[in-house]
Every structure is written in C-alpha cells, then in structure tokens.
Symmetry: C2
Subunit: 197 residues, 2 copies
C-alpha cells in the first residue's frame, strides 16, 4: 500500500514517514511548493537521507497569497497556516488515496478537528493518517533523538520546505516584516540518521 | 525503553503493541484482572502468539463492582467502562513510566479527552501513548487484516481479557442479564499472525 506523506524535512513529518514505513507502507514523500522559493530542496535533501522517494507538488500561488492576506489581517499566523493546510489536503486528497502528515497530539495548528478528518475521509473516499496523533511532545522528542541528527535554529535562520518558509518570503516580497507576525520560535531539520530505519 | 501496553488480546491492543515494538520500544503486555474470571488466559495466549512478554495485574474487585453499579444505574455500559479504564490508568501510572493502550481515533469509550491525557501525563510524570489515535477504522481494519488471523464472534460467545468480559460475568453473578445492558456487538481476538512482526 502506498502512503503519501506531506513532508517538510522536519522531524515530525520524518518521524511520521518512518512509522508508516515500519508498518509496511510503501512511503512516498510529498512536498508542496507555491513557486515563491525553491525551498523544496531542503526536503529533497532529507528525503535522500531517509532513503524515501520524494516528489514536489506545485500548487497555485493564489493559495499562498490568500494565506498571507489572512495573516496580515489577523496580525498572527495560526489561521493563515490552518487555511493553507486544509486547502492542501483537499487538493491532494483528489489524487492520493492514502494521505498522511506529521500532525502531533500537542499541536494547535495546523490541525484538523475530528469532524474535519471524518469529513475529508468520507467526501474524498481516502484514508488520512496522522501517526503522531497519539504521542505527546516528550515521547516525540525522545523518538526524534533516537532516530535523527537534527539542526535546530530560529525560523529566520533555518529555511525549511514548510508552508511558513514561503509565507515569510511572500510577506517580505510584499514589504511586510514576518518577524512582526510570527512569534520567535525554533525550527528543526533532519540532517542525518542515528540508526537504520 | 520499556513500554507497557494494556492488553486484551484483541486486535487494537495487539496492533498498538506491534507499532511500539517496530518503533524500537521494549514492549511488555499488561492484562488487568479483577478476580471474577480467569479471563486473562486469552490475552496470555495472544501474547505468546505475538512473542511478547505478558503480565497479569490483579486489581481490587471493588473497581469492577463500582463499574457494574454505574452500568446498572445508567442502563447502558459506556460510563461504567470509561470509569474502569480511567481508574486502571491512574493506578498503573504509579508503577509504569510509559503506558500505552489500543484507543483508536474513532472510539467513543473508553477514551481519555485531550485534557485528561495531559493531566495524567503531568500529575504522574509518565508518557501515555495511544498509537492508533491517528488512524481511522478503515486504516486499522486493513492493517489488522495484514498482520493478524482473528476470530470474530458475538461478545457473549467470545470471552476476552477485556473489562467487558468480567463486567458481564459480575452482572450475571448479581442476577442481571448483560444482554439487557450491552448492545449486541462483535468481539475479536487475535489467534494467529500472518506476517512476522
């Protein structure tokens, strides 16, 4: 069974992919890009480290524009990021029958509610898997530490292949300072494996 | 890392155990018993099939009595089963640092809410893992079918090592008919492996 994992090169989507691989899925990694930056290249590097096939999905820039509009209007990023994630899942669900991502139990956004998950699966006739949903942050930290060598830095200093990297880039293009909208927080990228997966 | 999985011999707790084993945990299976029946023996058989160490934890019959009181008062089993599961987790969390069970995304009871999970982990300084929480019923059915040979029958005909089997026995001992309180539903037990775990 092929499972398509939304993949940023970060520790959560990497760990999700590993769990599904260990369960016997034929895992393919998908990185979404909106044509602002070639930031998908970081996910490509991590995919190679994990030894898993990787594909870049280019979606309409309009989705990213709308997300940035929401963030500029709100003054904070959560609704804009939630919007983009739901939109991406809706689009990919038309093509891929088993979709997964790195949503964790303790995440706030992006995260689908239980009824949104049910609705997505039923309307699109797909399976949506979130293998980290039953694990707390402490458990995930220990597993990540066991499997991965990670690079951890402030968001502005560590470009990733996630929504945020292109959102920030588009904000700068439009003359806005992302630092005024995003709280300072650490990002991490998987740059090596500590044990065989 | 040792992970202790609450284990009934059913497909959900078996699949949870397998996921944790594949992730690298040193998995130990725990079956709770309240001294009414020797129903733990079914879990012992399945544990042997899975090749995982198994322990029976005998807890006070009073907990089961209280659960039956709740069910008799309510006229339906969900609150009584929820009561017993939360009580069991509270007690085991004093002894085991990493506790897991087979709670699924689409389960209603027994299931801890997000704040109950947070509270359990923080108060007891443990990790509580529910590896099936990010998987829907269709995904679980496919995985179960891939890994296990199962026996599926009506509850009354398939004794298991779960709370329900002893609850039903205690109700009968007290002169009540479990069929008037439990909806008719299928139970399943893992009786063989289809592939190596």
């Amino acid at each position: 069974m092929e499972a398509y994992v939304l993949f940023s090169g970060g520790k959560d989507s990497s760990l999700s992919a590993i769990i599904l691989k260990k369960l016997g899925y034929d895992v393919k990694l998908l990185t979404v890009n909106f044509g602002i930056l070639d930031s998908y290249k970081y996910a490509q590097e991590t995919a190679e480290i994990l030894g898993l096939p990787h594909e870049v999905i280019t979606l309409e820039r309009e989705i990213l524009e709308k997300s940035v509009d929401i963030i500029l209007k709100d003054g904070y990023p959560s609704n804009g990021i939630q919007f983009i994630h739901k939109k991406v899942l809706e689009i990919l669900a038309d093509k891929y029958k088993i979709l997964a991502d790195g949503t964790r139990r303790d995440d706030k956004v992006p995260k689908l509610s239980y009824s949104e998950v049910q609705s997505l699966e039923m309307r699109k006739n797909i399976e949506y898997l979130t293998p980290l949903m039953g694990l707390g942050h402490r458990t995930i930290r220990k597993l990540v530490n066991e499997y991965f060598i990670i690079s951890e830095k402030e968001s502005e200093e560590l470009p990733k292949s996630d929504y945020e990297t292109e959102i920030r880039a588009l904000m700068r293009l439009k003359g806005y300072d992302p630092l005024k909208y995003f709280p300072r927080h650490k990002q991490s990228r998987v740059i090596g494996l500590k044990k065989e997966i």
